[in-house]
């Protein structure tokens, strides 16, 4: 199976590899995996709590070229988006951007799941932070 040029580009020069402090209150972490192929993907977003804009995004993926490319592309797209806009990213967008073949669609699903998981983690943290503040005020 031939990888598209875009997949190869992301695979050879992955963007935003690394990690953010997962204990920080403005960082959301999503960890997802595909048992079938043994892939595991960690995706993190750093959000400005004032504006809700994603200021930074990092990932680290152990898996095939398509899984790496999908998460690399996802972090590129996430930066500058608001949390709500980020949730609109669908795996189908990733599939068409990277021209993934049918057997690799699950890689894009994994990336979408990772985005959702990261944002939900961020929201949980914010919810907790707000309720603690409220408790302090009360």
């Amino acid at each position: 199976m031939a990888y598209s040029d875009k997949v190869l580009d992301h695979y050879n020069n992955p963007r935003n590899v690394g990690s953010l402090d997962k204990n920080s209150f403005d960082v959301g972490t999503g960890m997802v995996g595909a048992p079938e192929c043994g892939d595991v993907m960690k995706l993190q977003v750093k959000v400005n709590p004032e504006t809700g804009v994603i200021e930074d995004a990092k990932f680290k993926t152990f898996g095939c070229g398509s899984a790496i490319a999908s998460s690399s592309l996802a972090t590129e797209w996430l930066k500058g988006k608001t949390v709500e806009q980020a949730l609109e990213i669908k795996n189908t967008h990733i599939v068409s951007e990277l021209a993934l073949p049918p057997v690799k669609i699950h890689c894009s699903v994994l990336a979408e799941d990772a985005i959702k998981a990261a944002i939900s983690d961020y929201k949980t943290k914010q919810g907790k932070a707000t309720s603690t503040e409220a408790a302090v005020v009360a």
Partner: protein, 198 residues
């Protein structure tokens, strides 16, 4: 001309249960192998002989599948309409994902030539071997749960759901152990260093 069932349980004359007596399975396998041995059909015409060959092939596949608890469960799941490949990451608990991630980080370090990761990797391997034992115990429990219930019941369906999730976790662990072994004991002679020695 006699025919034979393509479904493994039926061929071996067994109920569709997940727990199997392996000695009994072996006895049945030997008996059926003798019954269907192609030599016994040598004078019964080409068609009968072909059929005996087919039967022997199904029998061998069936024995390989049924004697292995994991393969047996995968087979029964598929037969009952629960394909194993159909799964999402939610079948894997987050703690396991964390461990898988950490282990992959260590594997990467070791590949990069950082030998200091080796002892950590070895203890991680022990940990994953233990996880696999836990998973296998869990499977045994679920097998009994399935076997004790009516195959059409909700309890049975629920058990199959759980078994599929456990099998997915097991596969994850299995793949990792394979990668770990490969990193700890890399294949000795590959083409490149063979050339060097020549």
């Amino acid at each position: 001309m006699s025919t034979f069932p393509k479904e493994y349980y039926a061929f071996f004359g067994l109920d569709r249960k997940l727990s199997i007596n392996e000695a009994d399975l072996q006895t049945r396998f030997y008996r059926l192998s003798r019954e269907w041995h192609p030599d016994r059909f040598s004078r019964k015409g080409a068609e009968a002989q072909l059929q005996a060959l087919d039967a022997t092939a199904v029998l061998n596949d069936g024995y390989r599948t049924l004697r292995d608890p994991v393969r047996r469960a995968e087979y029964l799941l598929t037969e009952e309409g629960f394909p194993v490949a159909e799964q999402r990451s939610k079948d894997v608990p987050p703690e396991l994902l964390e461990e898988v991630f950490e282990l992959n980080m260590m594997l990467e370090e070791l590949k990069g030539g950082d030998e200091s990761a080796r002892p950590q990797l070895e203890s991680a391997k022990e940990n994953f071997l233990k996880l696999r034992r836990d998973v296998d115990n869990e499977l045994t429990g679920l097998f009994s749960k399935y076997d004790a219930s009516d195959a059409q019941s909700e309890t049975a369906k629920q058990a199959l759901h759980e078994i599929r999730a456990v099998l997915n976790r097991r596969r994850y662990i299995e793949n990792l152990l394979r990668d770990v072994d490969r990193s700890l004991n890399p294949p000795a002679a590959n083409a490149a260093n063979l050339e060097e020695r020549l």
